[in-house]
Protein backbone atom coordinates (compact mmCIF):
# COMPACT_ATOMS: atom_id res chain seq x y z
CA UNK A 1 0.00 0.00 0.00
CA UNK A 2 1.19 3.51 -0.78
CA UNK A 3 2.11 5.54 2.31
CA UNK A 4 2.61 9.26 2.19
CA UNK A 5 3.46 11.08 5.40
CA UNK A 6 2.49 14.73 5.21
CA UNK A 7 2.27 15.53 8.90
CA UNK A 8 5.84 16.59 9.61
CA UNK A 9 4.58 19.45 11.75
CA UNK A 10 3.25 16.95 14.28
CA UNK A 11 6.45 14.87 14.31
CA UNK A 12 9.24 13.56 12.10
CA UNK A 13 11.15 10.27 12.02
CA UNK A 14 14.51 10.27 13.77
CA UNK A 15 17.37 10.38 11.23
CA UNK A 16 19.45 7.16 11.02
CA UNK A 17 22.63 9.01 12.06
CA UNK A 18 20.82 10.61 14.98
CA UNK A 19 19.45 7.27 16.07
CA UNK A 20 22.94 5.77 15.90
CA UNK A 21 24.29 8.59 18.01
CA UNK A 22 21.62 8.04 20.66
CA UNK A 23 22.03 4.28 21.03
CA UNK A 24 25.09 4.11 23.31
CA UNK A 25 23.35 6.41 25.79
CA UNK A 26 20.71 3.92 26.87
CA UNK A 27 22.56 0.88 28.16
CA UNK A 28 26.24 1.61 27.80
CA UNK A 29 26.54 5.20 29.04
CA UNK A 30 23.67 5.63 31.41
CA UNK A 31 25.03 7.97 34.04
CA UNK A 32 23.15 10.84 35.57
CA UNK A 33 24.80 14.07 34.43
CA UNK A 34 24.87 15.34 38.02
CA UNK A 35 26.97 12.43 39.23
CA UNK A 36 30.66 12.76 40.00
CA UNK A 37 32.01 9.62 38.38
CA UNK A 38 32.97 8.49 34.92
CA UNK A 39 29.41 7.63 33.88
CA UNK A 40 28.08 10.92 35.16
CA UNK A 41 30.90 13.06 33.81
CA UNK A 42 30.56 11.41 30.43
CA UNK A 43 26.86 12.31 30.41
CA UNK A 44 27.69 15.86 31.37
CA UNK A 45 30.21 16.12 28.53
CA UNK A 46 27.52 14.89 26.13
CA UNK A 47 25.11 17.52 27.43
CA UNK A 48 27.64 20.24 26.83
CA UNK A 49 28.48 18.96 23.37
CA UNK A 50 24.78 19.17 22.48
CA UNK A 51 24.58 22.68 23.92
CA UNK A 52 27.37 23.65 21.55
CA UNK A 53 25.54 22.20 18.56
CA UNK A 54 22.36 24.12 19.31
CA UNK A 55 24.29 27.24 20.16
CA UNK A 56 26.08 27.27 16.82
CA UNK A 57 22.96 26.56 14.80
CA UNK A 58 21.09 29.56 16.20
CA UNK A 59 24.12 31.83 16.52
CA UNK A 60 23.86 32.04 20.27
CA UNK A 61 26.71 34.01 21.85
CA UNK A 62 27.64 31.03 24.06
CA UNK A 63 26.63 27.40 24.68
CA UNK A 64 25.67 28.19 28.29
CA UNK A 65 22.64 30.06 26.91
CA UNK A 66 21.12 26.74 25.84
CA UNK A 67 18.74 25.15 28.38
CA UNK A 68 17.16 21.74 27.93
CA UNK A 69 13.52 20.98 28.68
CA UNK A 70 11.36 17.97 27.82
CA UNK A 71 9.55 19.41 24.78
CA UNK A 72 8.69 22.60 22.92
CA UNK A 73 5.61 23.07 25.06
CA UNK A 74 7.64 23.07 28.27
CA UNK A 75 10.21 25.44 26.75
CA UNK A 76 7.36 27.83 25.92
CA UNK A 77 5.88 27.53 29.39
CA UNK A 78 9.29 28.21 30.92
CA UNK A 79 9.86 31.25 28.72
CA UNK A 80 6.48 32.80 29.44
CA UNK A 81 5.94 31.90 33.09
CA UNK A 82 9.63 32.06 33.93
CA UNK A 83 9.79 35.65 32.68
CA UNK A 84 6.57 36.55 34.46
CA UNK A 85 7.77 35.22 37.82
CA UNK A 86 11.23 36.71 37.43
CA UNK A 87 9.99 40.18 36.50
CA UNK A 88 6.67 40.48 38.33
CA UNK A 89 8.12 43.13 40.59
CA UNK A 90 8.77 45.30 37.54
CA UNK A 91 5.32 44.82 36.01
CA UNK A 92 2.68 42.29 35.16
CA UNK A 93 1.77 42.97 31.55
CA UNK A 94 2.47 40.61 28.65
CA UNK A 95 2.04 41.20 24.92
CA UNK A 96 1.39 38.31 22.54
CA UNK A 97 -0.54 37.74 19.32
CA UNK A 98 -3.93 36.14 18.81
CA UNK A 99 -2.29 33.37 16.77
CA UNK A 100 0.13 31.82 19.24
CA UNK A 101 0.54 28.12 19.81
CA UNK A 102 -1.68 26.89 22.70
CA UNK A 103 1.45 26.40 24.83
CA UNK A 104 2.03 30.16 24.75
CA UNK A 105 -1.62 31.21 24.78
CA UNK A 106 -2.53 28.89 27.64
CA UNK A 107 0.54 29.82 29.66
CA UNK A 108 -0.49 33.45 29.42
CA UNK A 109 -4.09 32.56 30.27
CA UNK A 110 -2.81 30.75 33.36
CA UNK A 111 -0.84 33.83 34.39
CA UNK A 112 -3.92 35.98 33.88
CA UNK A 113 -5.70 33.81 36.45
CA UNK A 114 -2.79 34.67 38.77
CA UNK A 115 -3.17 38.41 38.35
CA UNK A 116 -1.08 39.16 35.28
CA UNK A 117 -2.61 41.06 32.36
CA UNK A 118 -2.13 40.56 28.65
CA UNK A 119 -2.71 42.34 25.37
CA UNK A 120 -3.34 40.07 22.39
CA UNK A 121 -2.38 41.83 19.20
CA UNK A 122 -4.54 40.81 16.23
CA UNK A 123 -3.06 39.24 13.11
CA UNK A 124 -4.28 40.06 9.61
CA UNK A 125 -6.16 37.68 7.30
CA UNK A 126 -2.92 35.95 6.35
CA UNK A 127 -1.77 35.67 9.93
CA UNK A 128 0.79 38.49 9.97
CA UNK A 129 1.54 40.48 13.11
CA UNK A 130 2.05 44.19 12.51
CA UNK A 131 5.08 45.20 14.61
CA UNK A 132 3.57 48.64 15.11
CA UNK A 133 0.63 47.01 16.87
CA UNK A 134 3.11 45.52 19.30
CA UNK A 135 4.67 48.92 19.86
CA UNK A 136 1.26 50.43 20.49
CA UNK A 137 0.45 47.78 23.08
CA UNK A 138 3.50 48.49 25.23
CA UNK A 139 2.82 49.96 28.66
CA UNK A 140 5.22 50.83 31.47
CA UNK A 141 4.07 47.56 33.04
CA UNK A 142 5.06 45.40 30.05
CA UNK A 143 7.64 42.74 30.94
CA UNK A 144 7.39 40.37 27.98
CA UNK A 145 6.65 40.34 24.27
CA UNK A 146 5.91 36.78 23.13
CA UNK A 147 5.42 35.87 19.49
CA UNK A 148 6.10 32.99 17.17
CA UNK A 149 8.52 32.88 14.27
CA UNK A 150 6.48 30.70 11.87
CA UNK A 151 2.85 29.92 12.61
CA UNK A 152 2.25 26.22 13.31
CA UNK A 153 -1.13 26.19 11.56
CA UNK A 154 -0.78 28.37 8.47
CA UNK A 155 2.98 28.84 8.08
CA UNK A 156 3.04 32.64 8.26
CA UNK A 157 6.58 33.91 8.91
CA UNK A 158 6.53 36.86 11.29
CA UNK A 159 8.72 39.96 11.12
CA UNK A 160 10.56 38.90 14.28
CA UNK A 161 13.60 41.09 13.72
CA UNK A 162 11.39 44.18 13.58
CA UNK A 163 9.52 43.12 16.68
CA UNK A 164 12.85 42.43 18.36
CA UNK A 165 14.02 45.93 17.50
CA UNK A 166 10.95 47.40 19.21
CA UNK A 167 11.56 45.19 22.24
CA UNK A 168 15.15 46.36 22.38
CA UNK A 169 14.16 50.03 22.15
CA UNK A 170 11.79 49.58 25.07
CA UNK A 171 14.12 47.24 26.98
CA UNK A 172 11.44 44.57 27.16
CA UNK A 173 12.26 40.87 27.25
CA UNK A 174 11.42 39.26 23.86
CA UNK A 175 10.49 35.59 23.46
CA UNK A 176 10.30 33.88 20.07
CA UNK A 177 8.50 30.54 19.77
CA UNK A 178 10.55 28.89 17.03
CA UNK A 179 9.27 25.37 17.70
CA UNK A 180 7.91 25.10 14.17
CA UNK A 181 10.74 27.08 12.57
CA UNK A 182 14.02 25.68 13.82
CA UNK A 183 15.58 23.33 11.31
CA UNK A 184 13.63 24.92 8.45
CA UNK A 185 14.19 28.64 8.73
CA UNK A 186 17.45 30.46 9.46
CA UNK A 187 17.70 31.51 13.09
CA UNK A 188 20.05 34.14 14.44
CA UNK A 189 19.05 34.98 17.99
CA UNK A 190 21.32 38.01 18.02
CA UNK A 191 19.92 39.54 14.84
CA UNK A 192 16.40 38.84 16.11
CA UNK A 193 17.32 40.41 19.42
CA UNK A 194 15.64 37.45 21.09
CA UNK A 195 15.99 37.24 24.85
CA UNK A 196 14.46 33.77 24.74
CA UNK A 197 13.77 31.37 21.86
CA UNK A 198 12.32 27.85 21.90
CA UNK A 199 13.04 24.84 19.69
CA UNK A 200 11.54 21.37 19.35
CA UNK A 201 13.96 18.80 17.85
CA UNK A 202 11.34 16.17 17.01
CA UNK A 203 10.16 18.56 14.31
CA UNK A 204 13.46 18.39 12.42
CA UNK A 205 14.29 14.67 12.50
CA UNK A 206 15.46 14.65 16.08
CA UNK A 207 13.92 12.67 18.92
CA UNK A 208 10.92 13.39 21.09
CA UNK A 209 11.65 13.99 24.77
CA UNK A 210 13.74 17.13 24.47
CA UNK A 211 12.95 20.80 23.96
CA UNK A 212 15.38 23.69 23.98
CA UNK A 213 15.16 27.17 25.38
CA UNK A 214 17.78 29.68 24.36
CA UNK A 215 18.17 32.21 27.17
CA UNK A 216 20.28 35.26 26.57
CA UNK A 217 22.67 35.86 29.45
CA UNK A 218 20.90 39.11 30.27
CA UNK A 219 17.39 37.65 30.23
CA UNK A 220 15.74 37.22 33.61
CA UNK A 221 14.08 33.88 34.16
CA UNK A 222 12.65 31.91 37.09
CA UNK A 223 12.48 28.15 37.12
CA UNK A 224 9.04 26.51 36.79
CA UNK A 225 10.03 22.91 37.57
CA UNK A 226 11.67 22.94 40.96
CA UNK A 227 14.04 20.44 42.52
CA UNK A 228 17.71 19.74 41.95
CA UNK A 229 20.23 22.10 40.42
CA UNK A 230 20.22 20.76 36.88
CA UNK A 231 20.43 23.18 33.93
CA UNK A 232 22.05 25.84 36.00
CA UNK A 233 19.03 25.85 38.30
CA UNK A 234 16.62 26.78 35.50
CA UNK A 235 15.21 23.28 35.04
CA UNK A 236 15.32 20.57 37.66
CA UNK A 237 15.01 16.88 36.90
CA UNK A 238 17.27 14.20 35.50
CA UNK A 239 18.26 15.15 31.96
CA UNK A 240 17.19 12.91 29.09
CA UNK A 241 20.69 12.34 27.75
CA UNK A 242 19.92 10.18 24.69
CA UNK A 243 17.35 12.69 23.43
CA UNK A 244 19.64 15.62 24.15
CA UNK A 245 22.49 13.94 22.28
CA UNK A 246 20.20 13.10 19.36
CA UNK A 247 18.61 16.54 19.33
CA UNK A 248 21.95 18.31 19.11
CA UNK A 249 23.07 16.19 16.19
CA UNK A 250 19.72 16.60 14.43
CA UNK A 251 20.06 20.36 14.83
CA UNK A 252 23.55 20.35 13.36
CA UNK A 253 22.49 18.22 10.39
CA UNK A 254 19.32 20.27 9.84
CA UNK A 255 21.37 23.42 9.73
CA UNK A 256 23.95 21.93 7.36
CA UNK A 257 21.29 20.62 5.01
CA UNK A 258 18.78 23.39 5.50
CA UNK A 259 19.15 25.17 2.21
CA UNK A 260 19.10 21.97 0.18
CA UNK A 261 16.08 20.68 2.06
CA UNK A 262 14.22 23.94 1.79
CA UNK A 263 14.76 24.57 -1.91
CA UNK A 264 13.35 21.11 -2.61
CA UNK A 265 10.43 21.67 -0.25
CA UNK A 266 9.54 24.90 -1.96
CA UNK A 267 9.11 23.06 -5.27
CA UNK A 268 6.97 20.36 -3.67
CA UNK A 269 4.92 22.97 -1.86
CA UNK A 270 4.19 24.89 -5.08
CA UNK A 271 3.36 21.68 -6.90
CA UNK A 272 1.00 20.53 -4.17
CA UNK A 273 -0.89 23.78 -4.02
CA UNK A 274 -1.03 24.02 -7.81
CA UNK A 275 -2.37 20.48 -8.03
CA UNK A 276 -4.97 20.92 -5.33
CA UNK A 277 -6.21 24.27 -6.57
CA UNK A 278 -6.52 22.96 -10.11
CA UNK A 279 -8.15 19.66 -9.27
CA UNK A 280 -10.53 20.77 -6.55
CA UNK A 281 -13.18 23.43 -6.68
CA UNK A 282 -14.06 25.57 -3.69
CA UNK A 283 -10.78 25.09 -1.94
CA UNK A 284 -8.88 27.96 -0.40
CA UNK A 285 -5.36 28.43 0.90
CA UNK A 286 -5.03 29.72 4.43
CA UNK A 287 -2.01 31.89 5.14
CA UNK A 288 0.37 33.56 2.67
CA UNK A 289 1.04 32.20 -0.82
CA UNK A 290 4.03 29.85 -0.98
CA UNK A 291 7.12 31.99 -1.07
CA UNK A 292 9.44 33.74 1.32
CA UNK A 293 6.72 34.70 3.79
CA UNK A 294 5.50 31.16 4.26
CA UNK A 295 7.10 28.19 5.99
CA UNK A 296 8.33 25.95 3.15
CA UNK A 297 6.81 22.78 4.61
CA UNK A 298 3.30 23.96 5.42
CA UNK A 299 0.21 24.03 3.24
CA UNK A 300 -3.05 24.76 4.99
CA UNK A 301 -6.25 24.52 2.95
CA UNK A 302 -9.98 24.55 3.54
CA UNK A 303 -12.31 22.56 1.34
CA UNK A 304 -15.76 24.00 1.41
CA UNK A 305 -18.97 22.12 2.26
CA UNK A 306 -17.24 19.21 3.98
CA UNK A 307 -15.74 18.65 7.40
CA UNK A 308 -12.14 17.87 8.36
CA UNK A 309 -12.22 14.60 10.25
CA UNK A 310 -13.85 12.69 7.40
CA UNK A 311 -11.13 13.96 5.09
CA UNK A 312 -8.45 12.88 7.54
CA UNK A 313 -9.90 9.40 7.93
CA UNK A 314 -10.27 8.87 4.21
CA UNK A 315 -6.75 10.19 3.69
CA UNK A 316 -5.56 7.68 6.27
CA UNK A 317 -7.47 4.92 4.49
CA UNK A 318 -5.61 5.97 1.33
CA UNK A 319 -2.28 5.81 3.20
CA UNK A 320 -1.95 9.59 3.48
CA UNK A 321 -1.13 11.11 6.88
CA UNK A 322 -2.29 14.71 7.29
CA UNK A 323 -3.60 16.95 10.09
CA UNK A 324 -6.45 19.37 10.61
CA UNK A 325 -7.04 22.50 12.62
CA UNK A 326 -10.72 21.59 12.84
CA UNK A 327 -12.02 21.51 16.39
CA UNK A 328 -13.84 18.26 15.67
CA UNK A 329 -10.55 16.54 14.99
CA UNK A 330 -8.63 17.88 17.90
CA UNK A 331 -11.53 17.79 20.36
CA UNK A 332 -10.15 21.13 21.44
CA UNK A 333 -11.81 24.31 20.35
CA UNK A 334 -8.60 26.15 20.97
CA UNK A 335 -6.65 24.22 18.37
CA UNK A 336 -8.11 26.36 15.63
CA UNK A 337 -7.07 29.53 17.43
CA UNK A 338 -5.11 30.68 14.39
CA UNK A 339 -8.00 30.06 12.03
CA UNK A 340 -10.23 32.13 14.29
CA UNK A 341 -7.53 34.78 14.53
CA UNK A 342 -7.36 35.23 10.76
CA UNK A 343 -11.15 35.51 10.67
CA UNK A 344 -11.72 32.35 8.65
CA UNK A 345 -15.38 31.49 8.20
CA UNK A 346 -16.35 28.82 10.69
CA UNK A 347 -17.44 26.36 8.01
CA UNK A 348 -14.08 26.74 6.27
CA UNK A 349 -12.38 26.15 9.61
CA UNK A 350 -14.41 22.95 9.91
CA UNK A 351 -13.07 21.74 6.57
CA UNK A 352 -9.49 22.52 7.40
CA UNK A 353 -6.61 20.27 6.33
CA UNK A 354 -2.92 20.83 7.08
CA UNK A 355 -0.29 19.22 4.88
CA UNK A 356 3.28 19.46 6.17
CA UNK A 357 5.93 18.27 3.80
CA UNK A 358 9.21 16.67 4.75
CA UNK A 359 12.60 16.22 3.17
CA UNK A 360 11.77 12.73 1.91
CA UNK A 361 8.50 13.43 0.12
CA UNK A 362 8.67 12.89 -3.65
CA UNK A 363 7.03 14.36 -6.73
CA UNK A 364 5.19 11.07 -7.27
CA UNK A 365 3.79 11.28 -3.76
CA UNK A 366 2.49 14.77 -4.44
CA UNK A 367 0.74 13.52 -7.59
CA UNK A 368 -0.79 10.68 -5.63
CA UNK A 369 -1.94 12.99 -2.86
CA UNK A 370 -3.52 15.45 -5.27
CA UNK A 371 -5.49 12.82 -7.13
CA UNK A 372 -6.49 10.92 -3.97
CA UNK A 373 -7.48 14.06 -2.14
CA UNK A 374 -9.60 15.24 -5.07
CA UNK A 375 -11.49 11.94 -4.94
CA UNK A 376 -11.91 12.18 -1.18
CA UNK A 377 -13.33 15.68 -1.40
CA UNK A 378 -15.68 14.59 -4.16
CA UNK A 379 -16.84 11.58 -2.15
CA UNK A 380 -17.55 13.58 1.00
CA UNK A 381 -19.33 16.27 -0.99
CA UNK A 382 -21.60 13.59 -2.39
CA UNK A 383 -22.55 12.81 1.20
CA UNK A 384 -22.87 16.43 2.25
CA UNK A 385 -26.25 18.17 2.53
CA UNK A 386 -24.41 21.49 2.30
CA UNK A 387 -22.93 20.64 -1.07
CA UNK A 388 -26.42 19.65 -2.18
CA UNK A 389 -27.82 22.96 -0.97
CA UNK A 390 -25.02 24.81 -2.71
CA UNK A 391 -25.61 22.94 -5.97
CA UNK A 392 -29.30 23.87 -5.78
CA UNK A 393 -28.37 27.50 -5.23
CA UNK A 394 -29.77 27.58 -1.69
CA UNK A 395 -26.48 28.67 -0.11
CA UNK A 396 -23.42 30.28 -1.60
CA UNK A 397 -19.69 29.87 -1.23
CA UNK A 398 -18.02 31.85 1.53
CA UNK A 399 -14.55 31.67 -0.01
CA UNK A 400 -13.50 35.24 -0.73
CA UNK A 401 -13.16 35.82 -4.50
CA UNK A 402 -14.74 32.42 -5.05
CA UNK A 403 -11.66 30.72 -6.55
CA UNK A 404 -12.04 28.53 -9.64
Amino acid sequence: MIKVYLDHQSSTPVLPQVYEAMLPWFSEYYGNASALHEQGLRAKAALNQSRKQFSEAIHSPDPESILFTSCGTEANNLAVKGTAYALQHKGKHIILSTAEHPSVENSVAFLERQGFTATRVSVDSQGFINPEDIRAAITPETILIATHYANHDIGTIQPVAQIGEIAREHKIQFFVDAAFSAGWLPINVQEMNASLLSLSPHRFYGPKGVGVLYKNRKARLSSIIHGGIQENNFRSGTENIPAIVGGGLAMQIAENERETRVSRLRVLQEKLWKGLSEQISYICLNGPLPGENRHPANLNVSTEFIEGEGQLLLCNAAGIAVASGSSCVSKNLKSSLTLTAIGLDITLAQGNIIFTLGKDNTFEQIDYVVSSFAKIVERLRQMSPMWDAFQKGNISSVIPGNPK
Binding site: G319, S384, W387
Partner: protein, 142 residues
Amino acid sequence: MAEEYNPYNPIVMDHFLNPRNMGDLEDADGIGEVGAAACGDIMKISLKISDDGKISDARFKTFGCGSAIASSSMATELVKGKTIEEALKVTNKNVVDALGGLPPVKIHCSVLAEEAIKAALDDYIKRHPEKAALVAEKKHKA
Protein backbone atom coordinates in the same frame (compact mmCIF):
# COMPACT_ATOMS: atom_id res chain seq x y z
CA MET B 1 -1.79 -3.33 9.53
CA ALA B 2 -3.36 0.06 9.06
CA GLU B 3 -6.74 -1.40 9.97
CA GLU B 4 -5.70 -1.92 13.56
CA TYR B 5 -5.06 1.76 14.04
CA ASN B 6 -8.32 3.62 13.71
CA PRO B 7 -9.97 6.08 16.03
CA TYR B 8 -13.18 4.03 15.93
CA ASN B 9 -14.09 0.38 16.27
CA PRO B 10 -14.48 -1.80 13.14
CA ILE B 11 -18.29 -1.39 12.96
CA VAL B 12 -18.06 2.40 13.03
CA MET B 13 -15.21 2.34 10.53
CA ASP B 14 -17.23 0.07 8.26
CA HIS B 15 -20.25 2.40 8.37
CA PHE B 16 -18.00 5.37 7.72
CA LEU B 17 -16.08 3.81 4.86
CA ASN B 18 -19.08 1.97 3.39
CA PRO B 19 -22.04 4.04 4.42
CA ARG B 20 -25.45 2.39 4.03
CA ASN B 21 -28.34 4.33 2.52
CA MET B 22 -26.35 7.39 1.57
CA GLY B 23 -28.25 9.87 -0.59
CA ASP B 24 -31.66 11.45 -0.97
CA LEU B 25 -35.04 9.88 -1.70
CA GLU B 26 -37.12 11.16 -4.57
CA ASP B 27 -40.61 11.87 -3.27
CA ALA B 28 -39.63 11.33 0.34
CA ASP B 29 -42.58 11.23 2.73
CA GLY B 30 -40.63 12.84 5.54
CA ILE B 31 -37.36 14.76 5.69
CA GLY B 32 -35.49 15.84 8.79
CA GLU B 33 -32.44 18.08 8.88
CA VAL B 34 -30.74 18.89 12.15
CA GLY B 35 -27.49 20.47 13.30
CA ALA B 36 -25.53 23.40 11.95
CA ALA B 37 -22.26 23.70 10.08
CA ALA B 38 -20.92 26.03 12.74
CA CYS B 39 -21.29 23.22 15.25
CA GLY B 40 -19.57 20.79 12.95
CA ASP B 41 -22.48 18.55 11.98
CA ILE B 42 -25.53 18.65 9.74
CA MET B 43 -27.62 15.52 9.25
CA LYS B 44 -30.44 15.12 6.81
CA ILE B 45 -32.57 12.00 6.85
CA SER B 46 -35.21 11.20 4.24
CA LEU B 47 -37.85 8.53 4.79
CA LYS B 48 -40.25 6.67 2.51
CA ILE B 49 -43.25 5.52 4.54
CA SER B 50 -45.88 3.17 3.18
CA ASP B 51 -49.61 3.48 3.88
CA ASP B 52 -49.52 0.93 6.68
CA GLY B 53 -47.10 3.22 8.54
CA LYS B 54 -43.99 1.17 7.81
CA ILE B 55 -40.69 2.82 6.89
CA SER B 56 -39.96 1.24 3.54
CA ASP B 57 -36.80 3.20 2.80
CA ALA B 58 -34.40 5.65 4.42
CA ARG B 59 -31.52 7.77 3.21
CA PHE B 60 -29.06 10.16 4.81
CA LYS B 61 -26.76 12.98 3.90
CA THR B 62 -24.31 14.22 6.49
CA PHE B 63 -21.80 17.02 6.88
CA GLY B 64 -19.71 15.95 9.81
CA CYS B 65 -17.01 13.77 11.23
CA GLY B 66 -16.56 10.04 10.80
CA SER B 67 -18.79 9.12 13.69
CA ALA B 68 -21.52 11.48 12.45
CA ILE B 69 -21.51 9.70 9.09
CA ALA B 70 -21.45 6.27 10.74
CA SER B 71 -24.26 7.26 13.13
CA SER B 72 -26.44 8.44 10.24
CA SER B 73 -25.74 5.29 8.30
CA MET B 74 -26.59 3.11 11.27
CA ALA B 75 -29.70 5.14 12.13
CA THR B 76 -31.13 4.64 8.66
CA GLU B 77 -30.44 0.92 8.94
CA LEU B 78 -32.16 0.77 12.31
CA VAL B 79 -35.39 2.43 11.18
CA LYS B 80 -35.80 0.68 7.85
CA GLY B 81 -38.69 -1.76 8.05
CA LYS B 82 -39.90 -0.35 11.36
CA THR B 83 -43.31 1.24 11.95
CA ILE B 84 -43.46 4.93 12.82
CA GLU B 85 -44.18 4.03 16.40
CA GLU B 86 -41.21 1.70 16.59
CA ALA B 87 -38.97 4.22 14.84
CA LEU B 88 -39.97 6.90 17.32
CA LYS B 89 -38.59 4.69 20.03
CA VAL B 90 -35.15 4.46 18.46
CA THR B 91 -32.78 6.29 20.79
CA ASN B 92 -29.26 7.52 20.45
CA LYS B 93 -28.28 4.69 22.78
CA ASN B 94 -29.65 2.18 20.26
CA VAL B 95 -27.45 3.80 17.62
CA VAL B 96 -24.38 3.72 19.86
CA ASP B 97 -25.03 0.11 20.82
CA ALA B 98 -25.56 -0.98 17.24
CA LEU B 99 -22.27 0.71 16.38
CA GLY B 100 -20.55 -1.20 19.14
CA GLY B 101 -19.80 2.03 21.01
CA LEU B 102 -18.54 5.53 20.27
CA PRO B 103 -15.82 7.54 22.04
CA PRO B 104 -17.32 9.73 24.81
CA VAL B 105 -16.64 12.97 22.92
CA LYS B 106 -18.55 11.61 19.95
CA ILE B 107 -21.79 10.57 21.64
CA HIS B 108 -23.40 13.80 20.43
CA CYS B 109 -23.26 12.37 16.88
CA SER B 110 -25.65 9.61 17.87
CA VAL B 111 -27.91 12.16 19.56
CA LEU B 112 -28.02 14.10 16.32
CA ALA B 113 -28.95 10.90 14.45
CA GLU B 114 -31.83 10.27 16.83
CA GLU B 115 -32.97 13.87 16.38
CA ALA B 116 -32.76 13.61 12.60
CA ILE B 117 -34.96 10.50 12.61
CA LYS B 118 -37.48 12.22 14.92
CA ALA B 119 -37.42 15.33 12.74
CA ALA B 120 -38.11 13.27 9.63
CA LEU B 121 -40.98 11.50 11.37
CA ASP B 122 -42.34 14.83 12.63
CA ASP B 123 -42.21 16.11 9.10
CA TYR B 124 -44.17 13.07 7.91
CA ILE B 125 -46.79 13.52 10.63
CA LYS B 126 -47.07 17.20 9.84
CA ARG B 127 -47.72 16.29 6.24
CA HIS B 128 -50.13 13.52 7.27
CA PRO B 129 -52.03 14.85 10.28
CA GLU B 130 -54.42 11.84 10.16
CA LYS B 131 -51.52 9.59 11.14
CA ALA B 132 -50.74 11.68 14.20
CA ALA B 133 -53.95 10.50 15.83
CA LEU B 134 -53.07 6.94 14.97
CA VAL B 135 -49.70 7.31 16.60
CA ALA B 136 -51.16 9.00 19.65
CA GLU B 137 -53.94 6.36 19.89
CA LYS B 138 -51.48 3.51 19.66
CA LYS B 139 -49.28 5.21 22.21
CA HIS B 140 -52.30 5.38 24.53
CA LYS B 141 -53.03 1.73 24.15
CA ALA B 142 -49.49 0.83 24.97
